[in-house]
Structures are given as C-alpha cells and as structure tokens.
C-alpha cells in the first residue's frame, strides 16, 4: 500500500517528459530545497496554465507483479524494487517487526520453510511509502525414487533381462540426473536400466538421483537364481485375521483352496489327518462328520518335471511342496449358535471388526473425509469407523478390495428370500447421465465357532454380475506404499496389470492416501472384481458410473430400498437377502442366519479427475426390526 500525496496525472506526465533535462545531481539539489522555495520554484505559467509542484514522497515499484516471491530454504533471495523520489530516503525491510535490512535491495536467506510477510517502508522528509510483500520459503525438493518391488525381496532368473523403470518425483527441478550403480560401479545414467546376469548369486543395485536440492539413493538387493522358487500356502481369512485355520459346522462342507507360485503344471493330492483322500483338484471340499479339529494337507507336485537321472545310481524326483490347514467343526448345531434378538437389541451395527480400505483420496483425509489424524493404528481406525457409522456418515473403502467388517448384537435371520434381510446404506444415485454407483460386494459370515469374531467362513452374496463374463473371482491387487508424500499409490494385480491410485492434490491434499494403520510396505486385497461401468459422456464431459442390476452396496439397482431422493430425506439403501449366499463355485449355501457382514469394493477403475471408484458405506441395518 502506498501512502503519498495526491499527484495529478498531468504533473506526472510533465515530470516524466522533462526528466532527461535533469541530471541526477540537479535533481537531488532540486529535491533538497526548502519546501516553500520548492513550491515557488516549481510554479510556472505555461500557456496560461498555472501549475504547482508538490513535494514528492517515495514511490515503490516492485519487481514482482503480484508482490509474491518464492525462495528456497538456505538459498539467498534478492528482492530489488525500483524507486522514485527515494534518493535520500530511509529504507526498512521488516518481518514481524524485526528489521531484516535497511538497504534498497533485500538479500536474505531463510532457514525454515513457510510464508513470510515483509513490510518494505521507504521514507523521506515528505512522507513514506509502504508495500507488503510475501515470500514463500519452500523446502528443498530433492528427488524421490519410487520403485515397487516384491515384498519378499527381488529374485531374478539368471540369463534373463529385467528392465528397471522407477518413478522419480521432483525430476523437474534443475540439475536432475540419474545414476545406476552395480556393486558400487556406475553402469548407467538413463532413467531406466536393463539388468541381466548369467551367474546365480547376489548383487546390490543402487539408484542415485540428484538435483540442485539434493540426492536420493535407493538400494535394491538382487538375488539371481537359476529358477524362480515355488510356494504353496493357504490364504488368511483377512488382513487382521492372519490365521489360516478354518471353522465350520458338522456336515457343512468347507472349500479349501491353496495358492501356489512357480508351478507350471501343479498336481494336487490331499490328506486328512494323514489319510489320503480321493480329491486331486485344487479345491477340496471337506465335510466334517463329527465335531473336532482336522489337519488337512495338500501336496503340490510340479507335473512338468519328470524324474531326472543324475547318475546311474541317483535320480532327481519332481519337486513337491506341502501346506497344511486346521479345520475345526463346532460341537453345537447351527440353531444352538443363533444369537436371537432381544427386546433391547439394536437394529444397526454395533461393532466394526476390521477396517482395511484400499488406498484412496478420502483415506486419512481430515478436511472432508472425516478423519481426525489420530487413526494411526487399526484399533483407532476401527473406533473411528464405528463412530462414523453410528452417525450415518460415510466411510470410504478406497479403491478395489478395500473392505469393512461389521457385526450386530444379535444374529440376522434368513427370512427365506421372501424379503430383504438387511440393508446397507450408501450414497449412490441415478441421473439421466448415469449417476454414481460404486458397487461394493457384500459378504456374510456365520459365527460357527461361537467366539464372537469374524474368523469363520465368508460367503459372497450373488448379484446381477455373478457368473457373467467379465466378472473375476479371486482377483487380487497389491498396493505399495509411496516412496514419498503426495505421490500416487502404485498397485499391481493378479492379472499382470498395474496402475495407481492417483494423488489428487487439488481436492485431497493429505500427504498419503495409503492407510496410516497399515504398517507393511505393501498389502494385498483379494475379492471379486466386477466389470467397470464408469464412462465419460462425450457430450457433456461428465463422468458417470452406471448402476449394476442388483446385489451390490452403494448401487441403485432393483434392490434399492428408496432414499436417494428429495422426497424422503433418507440416504440411499440397498436390501440384501441371506438366501443369495453362494460358495466359491457359485452354488448356494444355506445359512439360517448370519452374524457378520463385509462390504468390499468390487471395481478397479478410476474416473478421470474424480479418481478411483470407491464404495462408501453409511450404516448397516437389520430389516427384521
């Protein structure tokens, strides 16, 4: 802001026109004259017009159009305004009342990032001028290297080429360059590097990226093997239920299916308590005939490798690996395990057991996501989610596979398919442009071991897309913690695909979209993937997520219970029938009731600037109450 006496425009123009006639010395002399004399001398009469010179106060002309300057921590910044009428003026540059300089040009170095407001004051005997400036002191931004590696470490096959193509953040900063070092020796300077080693062993690959703000290094231990190792195991029930033990009822078959890696032609053989059974499929349906614990083992043999004679007296057999799982059959019947509702029972969820969202724009978001910032442990996250649901506020499940498990204070009874048994509230809506439907797959579980925990068998509720082309069961996505703040979250999937949960700085600027309570550097979410139905309307430019027929949360299908319109004021809700529960092979499973409900994001897609398709849930309700 400038404080100065009124100076008519014509006078300014005349002054400017006459400026070449003044030497600086003369001008200074002119300015030094007493005011009265100055006025007298300055008065003139030209063409009958009387003019009067007014003592001039300083004028500041900043060297920034906006008055905003940027600097970096530890680097000197120079601010050099131009001045008029300031030959004998005093200068002061202050920040928060502290004098930084008394020179016309400010040269200063800040050591901490942040916004600094400067007051520049220029004063002579006729008055003063002031300008407020802002200096945005930015932190240094050295490169950040993002390279997704297998959680168990990187193994490569001897004699095979592998191309390393990491992502670099801050590669737009001056002086950016990359070096690849192998066991300390520079072997490349491009953004990508092709690795090939014919001899098994270990080596250390180092990526070094630098710019004028600093250097980052990422060490990548590489194990070169003759052939990739094979593994066999049983999946855990959920992220926070790492046990592979299984529970069921007497007479209720349970499907056991191992995962394998490295096998070309796996062949399966099964035993129960050491006794072979006739099944040679990957899936073995085990039906306990009596209460108790059973040890079920699967042995996987590589069918592609025939026994190989190494010497006349020595033969190498085919590689075989075994994995075991414990199956417990309850002593009580299904009816005995029912937790009947009572007079004081709640019709809505009373507990959240797990909250494991995929990374997403609302995860950890305190501005509009409702997080407080304290959700750094799973216990805190669960507590937060329960509170949100109690208030019918949305809980975002992030991208594909993210899930939430809730329970009730009683069992929800299967009413035989005559009506809907329970409801899940979302925020889907329709419009002539398709609206917004972000389908979540619903899973149910019966507490067959009666321990009050969701560690039994999950059964998917079938929907309109079940069994259709494009629907993929046992789909898995692994999410990797970003190398630095404000970065996309990379993922790979079980189909060989890869992608990212995009960082949408404009809308959600929390540092990380990766859940703070997931301690691992990567985690894998498995479930059923529906074909994406999001689209960009070419006529309007709007993104739409078209609805699925029925059977999904946060989706306006034929099972929509109303809400989602202006009339009722209720939120959008979908109804679900327990009778729709299916086994992994799609056959129905008869459940008299259920005790736990899981909703899991069923789509792996993103809608341009709107980001990942992400199911939101608001509440769960027993419709029999």
């Amino acid at each position: 802001m400038m404080h100065t006496s009124f100076r008519p425009q014509w006078l300014a123009a005349a002054f400017a026109a006459a400026a070449p006639a003044f030497s600086s010395r003369k001008f200074r002399l002119f300015r030094a004259l007493p005011a009265a004399l100055l006025l007298l001398l300055a008065a003139c009469n030209k063409d009958g017009e009387i003019t009067e010179e007014i003592p001039e106060t300083p004028i500041i002309e900043l060297d920034s159009e906006t008055g905003v300057y940027t600097a970096k921590v530890g680097r000197e910044v120079t601010i050099a305004p131009a001045y008029r009428y300031a030959e004998e003026a005093a200068f002061s540059w202050t920040a928060g009342g502290v004098l930084l300089s008394d020179q016309p040009t400010l040269r200063y170095t800040w050591e901490t990032p942040g916004d600094v407001y400067l007051l520049l004051r220029v004063e002579n005997k006729n008055g003063f001028a002031e300008e407020e400036l802002k200096v945005e002191v930015l932190a240094l931004t050295p490169p950040v290297i993002s390279l997704v590696l297998p959680p168990e470490g990187l193994k490569v096959e001897a004699g095979t080429e592998y191309t390393f193509a990491p992502d670099f953040a801050h590669d737009d900063v001056e002086g950016f360059r990359v070096e690849w070092l192998r066991d300390g020796k520079v072997v490349g300077t491009e953004r990508t590097y092709v690795f090939r080693e014919s001899t098994p062993g270990r080596c250390l690959l180092t990526i070094r990226a630098s710019n004028i703000d600093g250097t980052a290094e990422r060490e990548v231990p590489v194990e070169v093997v003759e052939a990739m190792p094979r593994t066999v195991g049983f999946p855990a029930l959920s992220y926070f239920q790492p046990s592979t033990d299984r529970s069921t009822l007497v007479g209720r078959g349970i499907d056991l299916k191992p995962f394998t890696t490295g096998f070309d032609r796996p062949q399966y053989s099964w035993t129960v308590d050491g006794a072979p059974v006739s099944c040679t499929d990957r899936t073995f349906r085990f039906t306990p005939a009596a209460p108790g614990s059973y040890r079920v083992a699967v042995t996987v043999t590589e069918g592609a490798s025939a026994p190989q004679a190494l010497t006349k007296h020595l033969t190498r057999g085919a590689e075989a690996l075994t994995a075991k799982v414990v199956v417990r059959a309850a002593a009580k019947s299904e009816a005995e395990l029912l937790r009947a509702k009572e007079a004081g029972s709640s019709k809505v969820q009373n507990k959240v057991y797990e909250y494991v969202p995929a990374p997403g724009q609302f995860i950890g978001e305190t501005r509009t996501g409702g997080f407080t910032g304290a959700e750094t442990t799973h216990a805190r996250a669960v507590e937060w989610a329960l509170q949100r649901l109690a208030g019918q506020q949305f809980v975002s499940l992030g991208g594909f596979g993210g899930y939430l498990i809730v329970g009730f204070d009683h069992s929800i009874v299967n009413r035989g398919g005559a009506g809907y048994d329970f409801a899940v509230q979302g925020n889907a809506f329709l419009s002539t442009k398709g609206g917004s439907n972000e389908a979540g797959i619903v899973w149910v579980m019966q507490d067959t071991n009666g321990n009050g925990l969701p560690d039994d068998e999950w059964y998917e509720l079938k929907g309109s897309e079940t069994g259709r082309e494009g629907t993929l069961q046992e789909y898995a996505v692994t999410y990797y913690r970003p190398a630095g703040a404000r970065m996309d979250v990379p993922w790979t999937d079980s189909e060989g695909g890869k992608g990212s949960i995009d960082y949408l700085k404009t809308f959600h600027d929390q540092d990380f979209y990766y859940p703070a309570w997931i301690e691992a550097e990567s985690y894998t979410l498995r479930g059923t993937r529906l074909p994406a139905q999001n689209r960009l309307d070419p006529a309007t430019g709007y993104w739409a997520n078209d609805p699925y027929g029925w059977g999904y949360a946060d989706n306006v299908g034929s099972d929509d219970l109303g809400g989602a319109d202006a009339a009722t004021g209720d939120g959008q809700c979908c109804g679900f029938r327990i009778a729709n529960a299916i086994r992994p092979d799609g056959t129905p499973i008869e459940l008299q009731y259920i005790d736990f409900v899981k909703v899991q994001v069923g789509v792996n897609a993103k809608s341009g600037p709107l980001g990942e398709v992400s199911t939101e849930v608001f509440s769960f309700r027993d419709l029999s109450m």
Binding site: R367, L430, T506, A566, S607
Partner: protein
C-alpha cells in the same frame, strides 16, 4: 468417490435426477415474528438427501434460528437450497434439486406461494413485480417468470450452450441490461436486453466464472475457478476479472495460481471493497492494481463455502461447510477482521440474503 467432489465443485452440480418431484409432508407449524433487519442463510444440505434448510440470524441480538422454513411451514424445504432473494416484501428461496422457488413472508417464514415447473433453478433476479429471470443448471434456457402469478411465462435462449451442459448463474443489472455468468463447463458472461429478453452480447473469459457482482464504478467482477485437473473442459489458473459494464470489455485480470480455487465475489454496501474466497477470504479495494499478498481471513484448512457483507455494518460473514456432512458454521468478522461471532447453521451453508 466422486459424489463429494461434485458437491465441492458445486454442491448441487448434479441436479438432474431421479427425484422427479417433491412430496411435502406437512407437520406442526411454529409462529415466528422476525421484524427488523436480519440475515437468511440457505443451507444446501446433501445432494439427494432432501435436507436443505433455511436459517435466520439477527445481527443485533446475535441469535440464530435454524430450520425456520420447516418450523414455520411444517414441511421440508427440499433438496439443495441454492439461493434466496428478497423482493417487494417477499423472500424467494430457490431450491435447486426440488425444481421449485418458494416465496415466503420474511417475518413469519411462512410460504405464500411457489413457482414450479423449473428445470434446475439457481438464482432469481427481479426486473419488476411481474417479471423475473431464473437461471438454470444443465439447461440452456433462462426462465422468465411472473412472480405475481408464480408462473413461468417464457424463456431466454442462451447461444452456444447445449441443454446437457448448460449453466447460467448469478445476475446483476446495469441499466436495461442483465449480465449473467455461465459457470459449469462454460467460460462466458452473457448480456441480456431486458426489453427484448434476448442475449445481445457475450464475453468469453476464463474457465468457469463462479459468481458476479457490480461495483460502485459500474464494473463487473467475476472470478473463475479454472476448472480442475483432468477436466475435459480444461484446467487453468483461476482469474479475477474486472469488466467494464458499459463497454462490456475486460479491463483488468488478476491471475492466481493453477490449482487455486476462486469463488464467491462479493461487495460491501458501498460497492468499493471486493471480497472473494480462494482458500482463505480476500479483500481488495475495487481500484487496486494488485491483489494483496495477505488474505483478509487466512485459510485454516476448512471449507469456506459462502460469503456476504452486511451492507450497513460492513461485517463479513463467512460460511464454513466444514466437511459437507455436519452442520456448517458461519463466522462473523468486523471489517477490520476481528471475529465477532460464530454460529451453527444447517448442512453446507452456501448463500446469504439480507433483510
């Protein structure tokens, strides 16, 4: 998740919908008598939830009454209350996604009439007791209504605008011309001759001008939001424009940073100080050569969503949508920036109307 994103861009951007028409359930009513000056706050509510409300604040007593429409009339206001305008002793509440404009008595808050058969109304501007314009979202027409009969009487066709992506917003009048900013997926100010009810001029500016005011010097001010990253309509730095209403030309541009979110230009009572939202709240003399470097109200990480200035006292009122979920807050500041009061209103407070 994109629903909330849409709310953020315009809480009621998506106004097409399932909800064909409202069903108003009448309940008990309450008697109000709010004589004297006061401030109405329209709370959009959550899109599709039918929980829009109307609040009323008395600056003298600092008392706020929430849900006054429901309490006075025994029925819900509807879905997405967008704006309110006073004319000739009546308050006109535009409820976007209920496709209706309610006329209420501003002292009792009782409904005295309603205009229906609107597509997706946003703002109403009165030309006389018998004629007003109603702007629309996702419609390429500005409706002409007769407020005395609560009827739609015609429309103004907006050029170069499809029905699906049409958007007309706020209106100001300069002589016989009404100027309208075209916001969603648009980049223009339209000039309408109120005698012929036709668009007689258009001025292309930046992407998505959000709001429009006319200052004491006959200058129009608008601020664009610049679109958003990845938008098929484009993404650029938001810009504040000063436009000479007489010549209908841009006089000055104040460009912000790409990624900033400009909105809500407002003026004080004298029309010589401009306010707007861009993270925080900013204030500037209408003759200034550059934007101040320091905001009038700093960005505190919340969501400033609405803005108004008391035309008499000069106090600034800032609506905070917080998280679009819970009851919003309104902060009241003196013209020196001192916090004078704060009060809870409804969900997503977006617009104000002085009585």
């Amino acid at each position: 998740m994109k629903r909330l994103l849409r709310y953020r861009s315009c809480a009621a951007l998506a106004a097409l919908l399932l909800a064909g028409c409202m069903e108003w359930d009448y309940g008990e009513t309450e008697d109000f008598t709010s004589s004297g000056a006061g401030l109405f706050i329209t709370n959009e509510g959550n899109f599709q939830y039918g929980n829009a409300t109307l609040s009323y604040y008395d600056p003298e007593t600092k008392q706020v009454e929430n849900e006054v429409f429901y309490r006075a009339n025994g029925m819900k206001l509807g879905d997405v209350a967008q704006s309110m305008t006073l004319h000739n002793g009546l308050g006109w509440v535009v409820v976007n996604n209920s496709h209706v404009i309610f006329a209420i008595d501003p002292e009792t808050f009782r409904e005295v009439g309603r205009i229906t058969n609107l597509t997706s109304p946003r703002y109403i501007h009165f030309l006389s007791d018998k004629k007003a314009y109603v702007t629309q979202l996702w419609d390429n027409r500005i409706f002409i209504v007769d407020p005395s009969r609560f009827e739609v009487t015609g429309h103004i066709a907006c050029p170069r605008m499809m029905m699906e992506s049409g958007s007309t917003e706020q209106m100001v009048q300069y002589g016989k011309y009404v100027y309208v900013n075209c916001w969603s997926y648009q980049d223009r100010i339209l000039k309408i001759d109120t005698e012929s009810d036709t668009v007689v001029g258009e001025l292309t500016i930046g992407i998505q001008p959000t709001s429009l005011v006319l200052d004491c010097n006959g200058k129009l001010w608008t601020i664009t939001d610049g679109g958003y990253e990845g938008s098929p309509y484009g993404f650029e730095a938001p810009t504040l424009y000063r436009i000479d209403a007489e010549s209908f030309t841009v006089e000055k541009e104040f460009r912000f940073r790409k990624g900033d979110r400009g909105s809500e230009v407002q003026l004080n009572g004298a029309g010589d100080t401009l306010y707007w939202i861009n993270g925080g709240v900013w204030a500037m003399d209408v003759t200034a050569d550059r934007v101040p470097v320091r905001p009038f109200i700093p960005d505190t990480g919340t969501i400033y969503y609405g803005l108004t200035v008391d035309p008499v006292r000069g106090d600034l009122y800032v609506a905070d949508a917080i998280d679009y979920q819970q009851q919003g807050l309104v902060y009241r500041y003196s013209k020196q920036g001192e916090l004078l009061d704060r009060f809870y209103v409804g969900i997503i407070p977006g617009a104000f109307c002085w009585k």
